[in-house]
């Protein structure tokens, strides 16, 4: 189980490979489900130039750790990985990576979906978009 909040650009596929190699033995798992969220250059009919992602230091990490523990208890999975960006983000950059490793596809898919859905609805992150005419929070 790994939870990381980072202000640096990351490549989700490299992170996936690194985590898999260091923690999960080949042959142990039969399914990996992943979700990668990427920043769009448009939203609600407007061109978006950049985004700023704020979080609640301490609470966000704690929330994602508890969520990962819940997934590990609820489904028959071996491992979970969540990496989420904060700070200034440009279109095309990865915002979030969620991955689950399991023996079979069903628990891998279900746990991955649970993690990203709960992250989006409850984890303390807030997006502020930069448009051509100023900034706007998406939390209104």
């Amino acid at each position: 189980m790994k939870v990381e909040i980072t202000s640096k650009i990351f490549n989700p596929w490299e992170e996936l490979q690194t985590y898999e190699k260091t923690l999960i033995a080949q042959g142990k798992y039969g399914a990996v489900a992943t979700f990668v969220g990427t920043m769009r250059d448009y939203n609600e009919g407007d061109i978006v130039q950049a985004m700023f992602l704020e979080h609640y230091p301490g609470m966000t990490e704690k929330y994602l750790q508890t969520l990962s523990e819940t997934a590990l208890q609820r489904w028959d999975i071996f491992e979970t990985l969540i990496i989420h960006r904060i700070g200034e983000i440009k279109p095309g950059e990865t915002i979030v990576l969620v991955a689950t490793w399991a023996g079979h596809r069903v628990p891998a898919f279900e746990a991955c979906r649970f993690l990203i859905d709960e992250l989006k609805s409850r984890a303390p992150f807030w997006k502020q978009e930069t448009l051509s005419n100023g900034v706007r929070w998406l939390d209104q």
Partner: protein, 90 residues
């Protein structure tokens, strides 16, 4: 000891501050004896004190010591209380 109150995102901009610390003994409820003195108060009372008795907007979320709470969750001396708008991560 004191209570630390934090605000995030658009709410921080509306309130005009990111963090305030208030000694429990300085809460109006105690000073004005509107309420019998106890060792704790609720999250809703903390909001009323810090935001000049303005009603707590229905969409605002709350946390005590970095865990989601409700308006009637009790707050002790030394606790950290946070108020923030709906989350938009992922």
């Amino acid at each position: 000891m004191a209570i630390t109150i934090k605000f995030f995102a658009s709410l921080r901009e509306q309130v005009g501050k990111s963090e305030v610390q208030i000694e429990l003994s300085r809460f109006k409820f105690f000073k004005e004896k509107l309420k019998p003195r106890t060792d704790s108060l609720t999250v809703g009372e903390v909001w009323a004190q810090v935001c000049d008795n303005s009603p707590l907007p229905i969409h605002i979320l709350m946390a005590v010591n970095k865990e989601y709470s409700k308006q009637d969750t009790r707050v002790q001396d030394g606790d950290e209380v946070a108020f923030f708008p709906p989350v938009t991560g992922g």
